[in-house]
Symmetry: C2
Subunit: 294 residues, 2 copies
């Protein structure tokens, strides 16, 4: 790609240096169909809004060697962030932190800050529900064992603290699997740090609807326009089925660019969207603009 | 584990030789939060019911090298089945089959059977919707390019055929990402083959509800009983939040065993469930039996 190519130039400055992340989801219940994984979907939406690219998601069973191997493989790919979800609770099959400690080669120790967080959370719930005073069970202390060099992250709505660790250029954050707790720790602890790095980037979308054209026919202009503006823009067609015998396709144009080139990048997104609109219309489709996401 | 341990013996004969699978999900839309992945959840439920253990799920972007690497890594772990979902359509970013052909070292070729399937699907939809006759677009033929040695699987509700391939002891089946098409190909083409192998195994569950006890306290008997019956049984506690200040925990006991030892295995599951019931009750919880899954 030459310097004269505006999309290419923007890419080199923009998307190529965009913040990257991987997600590791831990739990047999997600692999045997007991639980639908809405956690990582929510997190993906939040990360995308923050301008972070999620490159991969790995869902694994509650097995110690499997968990540590997943962290090691993920670290070898050197994303800027690794987020794990699940396996932080007090039960025997909650092994994420132990797996992380093996992957990092850092021993587990009882962290005083984490113990204080646990005690505080116990106290809050005791008061909130006005239950008779009872000592925190010793088995809770498992949740305060974290790898040396890592930091516990307060959980404002439950017991299991998050864990933040560093390895080379990668920051790892482990979240509990209870959705409200994962969301609270993400929004209160991780998002503020992510915002600093990610504010250099913007994410924007244009959506079109084309009626009366097959995805196969539409694939020709989609491919041509996507290539023309790649990798600043990414274009995806979503077949939505049929209505009165006519195929309905939603076309999503996604921009990832540097924030300081916001205006020119948005201009390119809108230009590509117009070109896509015209191309689909010429092929005989009824086209309409659905929405803009900024 | 000694021969005298009935759970261990059953395991060696049962779960250890249970049919294993991995799922590869392909699509940027699943990593950027556009689409919630209900496909792999549905498939996990079906596989579990069929007695197949899903060991891992990998969700990746629409990038050729990433897709082929995911297949290679997955093949190296030698599961009996690999199921991929997504990336079989006609557009430029549908690259699953190309990625598979690289992973298998088998060239893509235009498969006559797949072309016939495409034509038939085109004809069916043309008649169904009574649209003016129009030739199948050439770009559709991309969907009939499959790796040498593989087999196209009919798609009764859409265009993109499934693809079945073999590598060593692993059978690979690629499904389109449109939910109705993935489900049709799974139920009509894959499930009958899976049933043959999986009928040797059974899956059963017992669910208890414990009210008024923290997950931490409960973790002690959960851990003890799980160890006692491991790996024939697997026990998972699901914290469900609070009601009137009382913690609610659902306890799931999962059995995976050989079908020809069905009676004795179910007996062990029920015994473990009773022990769990008693242990939670002794710790002060209000316990009830929720449901049995057979």
């Amino acid at each position: 790609m030459t310097k004269a190519d505006p999309a290419g130039n923007l890419h080199e400055a923009g998307r190529a240096s965009q913040v990257t992340a991987e997600i590791i989801v831990v739990g047999n219940e997600l692999l045997n169909g007991t639980t639908l994984d809405t956690n990582s979907h929510w997190m993906s939406q939040e990360l995308t809004t923050l301008g972070v690219i999620v490159n991969k998601k790995t869902t694994i069973r509650d097995e110690l060697e499997v968990i540590s191997a997943a962290f090691v493989e993920c670290l070898n790919r050197k994303p800027e962030w690794i987020f794990s979800i699940g396996g932080l609770g007090p039960t025997y099959d909650d092994m994420t932190i132990q797996g992380l400690s093996i992957a990092l080669g850092q021993k587990l120790y009882l962290d005083r800050r984490a113990v204080e967080m646990l005690k505080k959370s116990y106290e809050v719930r005791r008061k909130m529900f006005n239950t008779p005073l009872r000592r925190m069970p010793k088995s809770s202390l498992k949740m305060a064992m974290i790898p040396e060099g890592s930091t516990p992250l307060p959980n404002s709505v439950g017991s299991a603290a998050g864990v933040l660790a560093k390895s080379g250029t990668t920051t790892i954050v482990c979240f509990p699997g209870v959705p409200s707790e994962m969301k609270a720790i993400f929004s209160e602890q991780a998002a503020p740090i992510l915002k600093e790095g990610a504010s250099r980037f913007i994410h924007a979308e244009e959506w079109l609807e084309a009626i009366g054209i097959s995805e196969s026919r539409l694939s020709i202009p989609v491919s041509r326009i996507a290539k023309k503006y790649s990798p600043l823009l990414y274009i995806k067609s979503h077949p939505m089925g049929f209505e009165n015998g006519k195929s309905i396709i939603h076309i999503q144009l996604i921009l990832s660019a540097r924030a300081d080139e916001r205006e020119s990048s948005i201009g390119i997104l809108e230009k590509a969207s117009s070109e896509m609109f015209e191309a689909a219309r010429k092929l005989g489709a009824k086209v309409r603009k659905m929405k803009s996401v900024r």
